[in-house]
């Protein structure tokens, strides 16, 4: 029963997306184009996040440690 509710809820969310972005009004080939573009953009954002976010977090963490106290004269970490 929960799966059915979940599927209904997801379908309803998809309908809201369609209405807000006007893809409800588009012809099928336009929808394909629009969704492809959106999915491609989303994929690129996620991929970029996957590659760069750990590096950014660790750099920010090191910067915080540097601010709190000069404790890393000999702890220069090399990131591959």
């Amino acid at each position: 029963m929960d799966i059915k509710n979940l599927k209904n809820y997801l379908y309803w969310l998809f309908c809201q997306f369609e209405l807000i972005t006007c893809s409800y009004l588009m012809e099928p080939w336009e929808k394909v184009l629009f969704y492809t573009f959106n999915i491609a953009m989303l994929f690129m954002v996620l991929y970029t996040a996957y590659i760069y976010v750990p590096i950014h977090i660790s750099t920010a963490f090191q910067f915080c440690l540097h601010l709190l106290g000069n404790q890393h004269e000999n702890a220069v970490s090399i990131v591959k």
């Binding site: 309908c15 209405l19 807000i20 972005t21 006007c22 893809s23 409800y24 009004l25 629009f34």
Partner: protein, 554 residues
């Protein structure tokens, strides 16, 4: 005699109880020739308004505006894409285009309006111009039509959708009916006069029916004389040029109807626009007009006329008539009141906004209205002092050139007006007006409780429900039709681009069950389409509306 209610609001009302049965409906009574009004707490603008004037124009949350622009942005991008494909021959052109020989001429179809029509309006075009095949009463029959090529062409399947609840027709008092008894006199007149007039008013087109109708309209409104015309739109656009000309000033409301705008432009007078129903803006314009006069010569204006409507059909707001009348008296301007939607629909006995505010019809210089909305007929009238109407009989473009009203239609108006005035011996007219008031208040109250954003005055039968996003316009109209309810949705350019809406017209002919059906459908659809944007409703603040719970001991 000691009366605990003798003093209230600092005014002695000791004679209130004895004079109770002499009080008029609006609470004004005379003593020694001096008119006194009942003073209530919380009435705005001092004593000008005798009942509370509540209007709602709630703004939607910010994310709604952002998403609306996002939707239009996506639509515009795809519009450019489709135009590109059409220009490069990748797609067949369905819409009008210039001929091959005219390719180097000034382009005809590149402005924003045509772009919008081709790319955005066409996608949801199936919600407008739907042909109906019965009388537009509280329910009507619709011809089913489908499209094979995304709304460029339609074809009729031959099936008729029956008994669709009508929430779009301007049938405020329910006079659009086919009941044989009601239309008896109309049938008689039709057989006596036929249908065509074949002449203008000034030649041979004035019938005794027109004279009878004009006398009745003048009596109904409480003015000296009236003149009727065959078409409501033409009443405005053809008569304003006869009343004002060059050297005159027209102060017109921001949201006036196209007929008023067209009439004002045709007249050649200077037009200045004040903000919708905003008396400070109007007063500023009046003061500037009187202080500075005409633009270059600084001479006094020949005439200053204020154009307003009784009920604005896209907003549902009612004009602030008492304030406008006091302004016009102070600055000596003329007032032209277009009661197209308000005649028959507001007021204790259906006589329009003048009666709604308890004012004297002599205060308004030109009373204009149409018979299309509340009387189930066609045509318009202009009423006022006898000199004004006599002037219009000779100088109006409509009187000289336009065909006069058909006699059967005139008889329909006569019978509807007699019914309203009670002259046919029944109280049916008054019952209709009361039913309309009840329906209006019920409908608006329920919609507010559900959490929709509704514009307009609490007493106006025109109810705009805001939809905002372009995708929802089409979805709303189509789904309501699937539930057998016909609604009118409006978008750009009739409304501002972000405020598209669905406009409901409540009618006296709607029964409580019909309204409940519509309200339940709206509730469901509002949840599905997420249309309940209001932040002040019962749904969003249930703790404010909780009734006190009494614990009863058994």
């Amino acid at each position: 005699m000691a009366n605990p209610n003798a003093v209230c609001n600092g005014h002695l009302h000791h004679h209130h109880h004895q004079k109770q049965n002499n009080l008029l409906k609006s609470g004004i009574y005379k003593k020694n020739g001096i008119t006194k009004g009942m003073k209530k707490n919380g009435v705005s603008n001092g004593t000008l308004y005798k009942k509370t004037f509540i209007e709602h124009f709630e703004q939607a949350p910010m994310y709604v505006a952002v998403l609306t622009f996002l939707g239009f942005g996506v639509g515009t991008v795809f519009g450019y894409l489709r135009d590109f494909m059409r220009a490069w021959g990748l797609e067949k052109r369905h819409i009008a285009a210039e001929r091959e020989q005219q390719k180097d001429f000034v382009p005809l179809y590149q402005d924003f309006e045509n772009f919008y029509t081709r790319n955005l309006y066409m996608r949801i075009r199936d919600n407008w111009n739907r042909p109906i095949c019965s009388v537009p009463g509280p329910q009507f029959d619709l011809m089913e039509r489908v499209t094979d090529d995304y709304n460029w062409t339609f074809r009729f399947t031959g099936r008729i959708i029956k008994n669709v609840i009508n929430m779009g027709s301007y049938n405020y008092l329910g006079f659009a009916e086919t009941d044989v008894n009601a239309l008896k006199t109309v049938t008689i007149e039709l057989q006596k006069y036929g249908t065509g007039i074949c002449s203008t008013r000034q030649e041979m087109g004035t019938l005794d029916k027109h004279v009878e109708l004009e006398k009745l309209v003048a009596k109904f409104l409480g003015v000296e004389d009236a003149m009727v015309f065959g078409m409501g739109f033409a009443t405005n656009s053809m008569n304003i040029p006869a009343l004002v000309g060059k050297g005159c000033l027209i102060l017109s409301d921001e949201l006036n109807h196209t007929s008023l705008v067209l009439g004002a432009r045709l007249s050649g007078a200077t037009i200045r626009i004040f903000k919708h129903n905003n008396m400070q803006s109007l007063e500023k314009l009046l003061r500037d007009a009187i202080i500075y006069g005409q633009p270059r010569s600084h001479r006094a204006w020949r005439k200053i006329i204020i154009l307003v409507e009784g009920i604005y059909s896209m907003e549902g707001s009612i004009v602030r008539l008492p304030e406008i009348v006091s302004l016009k008296k102070k600055y000596k301007a003329y007032l032209y009141l277009d009661e197209a939607h308000s005649i028959g629909a507001v007021g204790a006995s259906g006589r329009g906004v003048v009666e709604y505010f308890g004012m004297n019809p002599d205060d308004v210089d030109v009373l204009m209205g149409t018979f299309t909305k509340s009387f189930g007929a066609a045509g318009g009238y202009i009423a006022g002092k006898k000199d004004l109407v006599d002037f219009l009989r000779t100088h109006s473009h409509s009187a000289v050139y336009a065909t006069s009203m058909c006699p059967a239609v005139a008889e329909q108006i006569i019978r509807a007006m007699k019914c309203l005035m009670g002259q046919d011996g029944t109280t049916q007219g008054l019952q209709r007006v009361r039913q309309l008031g009840k329906n209006t208040r019920y409908f608006r109250r329920r919609l507010h409780e559900m959490g929709f954003i509704i514009y307009g005055n609490d007493d106006s039968p025109v109810v705009p429900l805001l939809l905002y996003m372009p995708g929802k316009i089409g979805a709303f109209a189509r789904r309501m039709l699937e539930k057998n309810i016909g609604v009118v949705v409006v978008g750009f350019p009739a409304t501002p681009i972000t405020e598209s809406r669905a406009r409901f017209c409540v009618s006296a002919a709607h029964t409580r069950e019909m309204l409940d059906t519509v309200l339940n459908a709206l509730d469901e659809l509002g949840d599905f389409l997420q249309l309940k944007y209001s932040r002040y409703s019962k749904a969003s603040h249930p703790e404010l509306y909780e009734e006190t719970r009494l614990e009863l001991e058994d």
